[in-house]
Symmetry: C2
Amino acid sequence: MPEFLTLLPPQESLDKLLRNLPVPKLATEKIETASALGRIIAADLGAPHALPEFPRSTVDGFAVKAADTYGASDSLPAYLNLIGECPMGATPDLEIISTTTAIIHTGGMLPKGADAVVMLEYTQTVDNEIEILRAVADGENVIRIGEDVAQGALIKPKGSLIRPAEVGGLMALGFVDVEVLKHPKIGIISSGDEVVPPEKRPHPGQVRDINSYTLATLVEKYGGEAIVYGIVSDSMDAMKKAISRALDECEMVLITAGSSASSRDMTAAAIEALGEPGVLVHGVNTRPGKPTILGVCDGKAVIGLPGNPVSALVNGYVFVAPLIRCLLGQDAAELRPSVSAKLTVNIPSQAGREDWIPIKLKQDSDSFLAEPIFGKSNLIFTLVAADGLLKIAPDATGLSAGEIVEVIFL
Amino acid sequence: MPEFLTLLPPQESLDKLLRNLPVPKLATEKIETASALGRIIAADLGAPHALPEFPRSTVDGFAVKAADTYGASDSLPAYLNLIGECPMGATPDLEIISTTTAIIHTGGMLPKGADAVVMLEYTQTVDNEIEILRAVADGENVIRIGEDVAQGALIKPKGSLIRPAEVGGLMALGFVDVEVLKHPKIGIISSGDEVVPPEKRPHPGQVRDINSYTLATLVEKYGGEAIVYGIVSDSMDAMKKAISRALDECEMVLITAGSSASSRDMTAAAIEALGEPGVLVHGVNTRPGKPTILGVCDGKAVIGLPGNPVSALVNGYVFVAPLIRCLLGQDAAELRPSVSAKLTVNIPSQAGREDWIPIKLKQDSDSFLAEPIFGKSNLIFTLVAADGLLKIAPDATGLSAGEIVEVIFL
């Protein structure tokens, strides 16, 4: 069959895979909020009480009845009697009635009867008499009860990422524990008779396993738990056994094929044999990454990535990252951190194919220059040297020097 | 003293602090490369051997002497005798001499005598005779010895962040362990008589400690280790004792003041008392964050952040993150992940002051809309609801609806 009939573009390939996957079952666990950075909230959380629970001053100054200050100015101050000081961290045991005031500190609880605070800067103290030099409106310089969050309000919907701000919001309401989604387990299998574990000194003709580790850290980066199954020999039996075990133990399975065509074909055959519907996409119209295989075995995604380490990692970003997001109840598409930069040279590209080019960023006064790192697509050090990747869309025939492009961080 | 004479803009404040800090001593530790995602390489690493160590084919095809193919075309093929197949993962025990060829797979080691590979697609096999339909140049479809990395070449300079690509590069060369910088210890002290631990139900007038936890997760996010010392009462003795202990045990100390002016003044006095040169900046021309205090005690940065949780967290991003980067041997300035978006409304701003506005992003066909979240600056849920922050530079008097702005992710 001619190749151009069989290769789908990456986005279409991913969409086809996603259509064949069930809605993921999201396992949850309760963990300490203080350790929840980067995790995903598992259930909608309502505020158990209002925040704040009492009216608080936002400034240092004097608690007043706003009406007592109306018309006050430098030339015509309002005069109020000082009746005390509001303590920090406790209910003030005093009451503001007309023509009286009390000292209050930022964050302090408003005393009974007060409805506003005049900033210290707009007052003068003469013995026990306070001159108010500026009027305040009802509620001015005060946080009302529930102004931060009302009782029962949704704090943050399920599926939200926990950042430092969320940790703060949860702690403010007393949630010292939080129900989060478990890290989905992603099984990683390497194959290839030429591949040896990294701790071994390779013999001539052998290379160390890179892909198990680049993919494991990619999985970790995107919130999955990598289960590394090691290197499986290029035999159909061994391959089927390894994938089958990984399918039992994990939510998704990644296989980096040995780099030969026969090894890739074996991956596809194993996926076909191990569950329905089997291989959905065999070959993607992208560079690097053409030999990528996308399949589903009885509800679980199985991805066959090329043995070439650049291809495996780039297509990890393209296919594996969105699938982990789905397993965490997120949109497959993410807002990938990127930076705008000016391309330094022309880059040719074949129409109909999506290209991913490693880019080195250079600072150029206030902006960035994007310098492509050319080199054969199987050199891992082209990615080690790169700051990010530039995607050339399938409908482009290349990019021109001077164009402003988006470089996606690696 | 008039306020405008004493308040420095944030960048100037940070620069002043940095000028008063010694070059940090960077402690190191050896860890497994497989667990090193996000860590910083501690020492320049040279390649112990070339990568690859043998010439490898990048395609499936036939190993040849390039000269044998010169002039070959569909109409005038070159004819070569097939003498065998190169095994995967071992040295081929055959030699290519003129007019002979051998099957080779992607990633396979080139046999002796061969200097190029012809892709399978450009050949035809007739019994033991291979028709070569296209010429190849010397080295074509081959990765040369050391083409990925030459022996002794610098893999990655010290100070580099370890991403999935670096994990791959290290593993490729057999570095299963790697020397990385230790997480610098950042001490965090909360104060304020109104503040209670988050597991406690606050009485009227009390609030839960938020700042210890937002700052601890911010520290974690930027590669530090947070040491949380809890809540210290608003007394000079207790404050000095706590800061002094934290200075002994940590590389930097953060104090979030009680929200009252007297509590802030106490922080400054404690910093002055505990080491030289003491307080360098007392008040920063930014909103939120005006009461921020920057100091150095005998070579260690001590930062007094406002008690207001929004101010503490925003100024954590502004001041604490760059200082942790310095403690990790990085440039203080970082390329903060951001996204361009179109502002939905006018935002006024006071000239001379740097403003930080919480922003909610909304998708608008292909682009983003930046919708400011207005609200008193002490409401933590304005940050919980925000996707990022918008900085309004001190020399601006505001931004206009429709302007394209950079929103920095929280």
